[in-house]
Symmetry: C2
Subunit: 342 residues, 2 copies
DNA sequence: TTGTAGGCGTTATCAT
DNA sequence: ATGATAACGCCTACAA
């Protein structure tokens, strides 16, 4: 399709036979213009498919109506929902989002930052690849909100997840299901989240006077394969399936891990949820609902997190900045892998 | 963090004790400025952390250095790699991308379109939620490239996937593995891709003088659950595991379907790939490598598709538009679920 | 080598 | 009610 020339307000004014000033007022619903004139201008604008040049307005107002979105794993599982939330919050207003993928590289991040600031974004949302706290970008000419991965500087604005609470919620649910011999399979120990979830789980167990089955939390990776290995390790213990002392619940660090767990349990003829109840983290629909049985999982509400980040940013842009970390509570999504009560 | 005031070229010029014109020349490496002056200007710029206002330049040049990205399923599996490719191609240059999620809603799409055109994007990439052809946006003031979902108008620029070839490739590989009794489990019949992949598969079978095992291609949905059901239907046939006439290969419409297929085959004690080889589509790493055995899968090279879309758009922006559909070839990624030869 | 002036498209102010 | 004009920040002739 060939491009047509871009029409300007001057074109509209000319066609309507008025000055640009009048045309501007007419189109912006200023009250100092005759109805008939306004009508003529509006028609001219429509006829010419006039679309005001936001850039010119921005130059004048100093506001671009644009925010910068810096992500660190566009291909990852966690950035996307956050981005959606941000986009959602922005879309409902008149904000647009410039997207950049820095891929965990701080040089690339710096480069993109320059480009965004040059485009005079009104603010920035920086989405981390992993939940671990990150370096602050420091003092910038526009407000910044750190999403998912909070900033190390408490004076910055961050919105993140309470992984410890996630672990707690998972265990509490298992206990509520009447389980007391609960094994905990966490993920990659290089991630703070793996430890925090474990800590929360241990706390909940402790509060009920329990200890994790097998004596300790297992760390590995966020993969199905690790879920399978860990489960096999557990089942290899002589008392694993003992009616009195065997496992009756498993908390997994992610849906993928849980997926591996379920596969092995099925192979070994362990009934889920009757014999062993399973709860996992992330509530990744695809994994959680594709499995048999479907997974009960802790949802981090990442899209909500993104929306909050955006809204906090908008407030900061309006001059009402709120330093500190905002924690979005997780919640449990119940499915078949854990039966409430028995 | 508190915001600092934004510095302008005038500030730099003032600090350096020159006119804005000279400052501009100095910073843009124009050759008509004394080295010492340039030095002073550069230092002033650095000291003030000067960052030229791209918007002002855009107003002047008529180029915003920005492209609009309209996606229809940010949460979906297929948009993201395409977006990554686009972002990648843009990032290497000096283009930035404005991201919008229209969520399959054409009203929302129109709304976002207005916003993007108002921001004077230099061009647009429209990414479909599904591969089926879509309505053209028609004549717009900037070039548009349709990615993944091609435009119905052949005069538009589109970059898409050859699903038929994908189906063909899958079957040809199975045949090359020595398989001849190949069942085909496709996906949701509401998707053109489901039919095209099936058509390609049938063509390849026909070329080898074969017909699909069971007589026809099965359509269902893109889920694991459907993969399981379909497999059970096949295995329920009396000759399914006959050494002479039984299934020895399965082509699946997606990795998720294949996942379900593998699960049931394992449960029934069917050895993969020895007894039955399995090939699927999409090559979604997470699914393809998490399964046992890992999946041989047809990769659509979506990131490459995104890059191509972006590059074609950039060419069009430069005035070298190339109407028509560009098809990115798929290729096979071999893993354990299909053994080459036997 | 440096500075002055005009203009990009829009809005707001101030005349008319 | 309408229009002329300045201003936003920058770049590029052209003049000095």
């Amino acid at each position: 399709m060939v491009e047509a020339r871009v029409t300007t307000l001057a074109d509209v004014a000319a066609l309507a036979g008025v000055s640009v000033a009048t045309a501007s007022k007419a189109l912006n619903n200023r009250q100092q213009v005759a109805p008939t004139t306004r009508q003529r201008v509006v028609e001219a604008a429509e006829q010419l498919r006039f679309r005001p040049n936001t850039l010119a307005k921005s130059l004048l107002t100093g506001r671009s109506g644009t925010i910068g979105l810096v992500t660190h794993d566009l291909d990852g599982r966690f950035s996307i929902p956050v981005l959606m939330g941000v986009e959602d919050a922005a879309g409902t207003g008149k904000m647009s989002a410039l997207l950049c993928d820095a891929r965990g590289d701080s040089l690339r991040e710096a480069y993109h930052l320059q480009a965004l600031l040059g485009r005079r974004v009104d603010g920035l949302v920086v989405v981390g690849a992993r939940p671990d706290p990150r370096e602050s970008l420091g003092r910038l000419p526009v407000p910044v909100v750190y999403a998912y991965a909070p900033s190390l500087d408490p004076e910055d604005m961050s919105v993140t997840v309470d992984h410890e609470a996630g672990g707690r919620i998972g265990v509490e649910h298992l206990i509520a299901c009447g389980r007391s011999r609960i094994a905990v399979i966490s993920g990659d120990p290089a991630y703070g989240a793996a430890h925090q979830r474990a800590t929360g789980a241990l706390a909940a167990l402790g509060a009920a006077g329990l200890a994790p089955w097998g004596g300790e939390v297992l760390f590995g990776s966020w993969t199905e394969s690790w879920g399978r290995s860990a489960t096999e390790m557990f089942l290899a213990r002589p008392d694993a399936r003992d009616a009195e002392r065997g496992i009756d619940g498993i908390l997994c660090g992610s849906d993928q891990i849980a997926r591996g767990v379920l596969d092995v349990l099925r192979e070994r003829g362990v009934a889920v949820p009757r014999e062993v109840s399973v709860v996992s983290h992330d509530n990744w629909e695809l994994f959680a609902t594709g499995s048999r049985p479907q997974l009960t999982s802790v949802d981090m509400h990442l899209e909500d997190l993104g929306r909050r980040a955006a809204n906090r940013l908008f407030e900061a842009i309006e001059g009402r900045a709120t330093p500190g970390i905002d924690v979005v509570p997780s919640s449990l999504v119940m499915r078949e892998s854990s039966l409430p009560t028995g």
